[in-house]
């Protein structure tokens, strides 16, 4: 399925891109699956999305958890814990 990925703050700088249109393979059903899929893309992605990295995510602009299901055309954002205020 096709989804829109967005990356913010330190994660965006680390990856060198603010987002992309991604085609996900069958079997990527939740945010946890997606994170593992992205981490497997290569060393730079492993560093950004590996288990040691503390990340938050939003699906369609609402905060989400690793168990959140992904649907076609979702807007999925990954970012470090927020630091506003």
């Amino acid at each position: 399925m096709k989804v829109k990925l967005l990356f913010f703050a330190g994660l965006r700088e680390q990856l060198g891109i603010a987002g992309e249109a991604a085609e996900l393979p069958a079997g990527v059903a939740t945010l946890r699956d997606l994170r593992a899929h992205l981490a497997a893309r290569g060393p730079q992605w492993q560093a950004a999305f590996g288990d040691g990295r503390l990340l938050r995510a939003a699906v369609n602009q609402s905060m989400a958890s690793p168990e959140t299901a992904i649907a076609p055309d979702d807007e999925i954002a990954f970012f470090p814990p927020v630091t506003g205020g």
Partner: protein, 149 residues
């Protein structure tokens, strides 16, 4: 209710005036103002950049305000958060709550601020003499938000 994510500075007097003007049911207003400090984690701060997630930010703040409305008697409220380049002593955020009585205003103001710190998609990058760095989230902010569960 006013929610604004903006580059421009805001005036506290004008915002508080607008919050209570024409509504004599308001008996109390509580406001929190967050400012850029000139020190953080042992380093001098020369400048700060605030990034956000356009589209989600306003929704996230609106959801926090809605939750506050479900818990306390709120007549009106204003949340303004700045983005872009900021310098020490600049104001970052204003949360102001108008209620009939102070208890609701104080509690709702603190709740909105605690939730904003952990749920609204803003990120600070600060410039120190050693270079630029992203501000790390604090456990104390998570604990502050947890208190309200």
């Amino acid at each position: 209710m006013k929610i604004a994510v903006q580059r421009e500075p805001f005036g506290i007097d004008a915002e508080l005036d607008a919050l209570s003007r024409g509504n004599a049911a308001v008996g109390a207003m509580a406001a929190f103002v967050g400012l850029v400090r000139d020190q953080n984690d042992g380093a001098a701060i020369g400048q700060m950049t605030l990034e956000h997630y356009p589209g989600m930010t306003e929704k996230a703040i609106a959801a926090i305000v809605e939750e506050a409305r479900g818990r306390w008697e709120i007549i009106d409220c204003t949340v303004i958060h700045r983005i872009g380049e900021l310098r020490p002593a600049d104001r970052i955020v204003l949360v102001a709550v108008a209620s009939a009585h102070r208890g609701d205003a104080f509690a709702a103001c603190e709740f909105i601020m605690d939730y904003l710190k952990t749920r609204a998609p803003f990120w600070k990058k600060e410039v120190t003499p050693q270079g630029a760095r992203w501000v790390e989230a604090r456990d104390s902010d998570d604990r502050a938000a947890e208190r309200w569960r």
